[in-house]
């Protein structure tokens, strides 16, 4: 699974993108984030407040209960500020 991070979540996580292999019990975005936070340090800080986490799976906006699978690209980022 490819995970990409943007803006201050990228900075806090300390990585822009990475390939990960979460355990089989990670079924959805919420589970994925919990698992990432368990990795400690920057991840715990980046995702401390779930209310500001926005998610896209395969470049489409989804909610935290959206399933994730091995071949997905999951993007985690704060609310957008373009325009």
């Amino acid at each position: 699974m490819k995970i990409v991070y943007f803006a201050w979540m990228r900075e806090k996580a300390g990585v822009g993108e990475e390939e990960v292999t979460p355990p089989p019990e990670v079924k959805d975005v919420r589970g994925l984030i919990d698992w990432l936070k368990g990795r400690g340090g920057g991840y715990a800080e980046a995702f401390a407040d779930l209310s500001v986490v926005r998610v896209a799976v395969n470049q489409e906006y989804v909610t935290l209960d959206h399933p994730v699978a091995e071949e997905d690209e999951v993007a985690l980022f704060p609310p957008v500020t373009g325009g």
Binding site: A7, A56, Q59, Y61, P79, V80, T81, G82, G83
Partner: protein
């Protein structure tokens, strides 16, 4: 049409291209967003726009398609820049052409409101002393919500 680019754009040339040869167009509404030299009460020396390349064009194209489904448009154009910008630089152009002006105004506002809350861009301001990520504004969420289907326009 959607363009995501680092380079400046030329408003006059872009609008001329839209209207050239399409004599069904009665009006073009264009909005250009610019970098200001203040944010709140802090000076802004420069700004950097990060985006999510794999998603950006897809997201903008979806927003554009939504506008073209809602209003009878002759043409539409979104150009969004990324990278480092300075005060006075244009960040974004939304231009909408229609037979009638009301549709052009509404669709243009719809597009910029949606861009603000849906397009995967993030602004980092450089005040000279420090850099900080711009926070999303509740007023932008509000502006987008008024376009929800089934809700009154205001």
């Amino acid at each position: 049409m959607i363009r995501v680019q680092r380079e400046k754009f030329d408003l006059g040339a872009e609008v001329a291209r839209m209207t050239e040869g399409n004599h069904g167009i009665g009006g073009v509404c264009a909005f250009v967003g610019l970098v200001r030299d203040v944010a709140g009460d802090q000076p802004v020396a420069a700004m950097t726009l990060e985006h999510y390349p794999a998603m950006t064009e897809k997201a903008l194209a979806a927003i554009e398609a939504e506008a073209r489904g809602r209003w009878p448009l002759e043409d539409s154009l979104i150009i969004h820049r990324y990278g480092r910008l300075e005060p006075g630089d244009a960040i974004v152009l939304v231009a909408v052409a229609s037979a009638h002006r009301q549709a052009a105004f509404e669709a243009c506002q719809f597009l910029i409101d949606w861009l603000k809350t849906k397009a995967p861009f993030w602004k980092r301001e450089d005040t000279g002393d420090e850099t900080r990520w711009v926070e999303a504004r509740a007023s932008d969420d509000h502006a987008t919500r008024r376009w929800r289907r089934g809700k009154a326009a205001e």
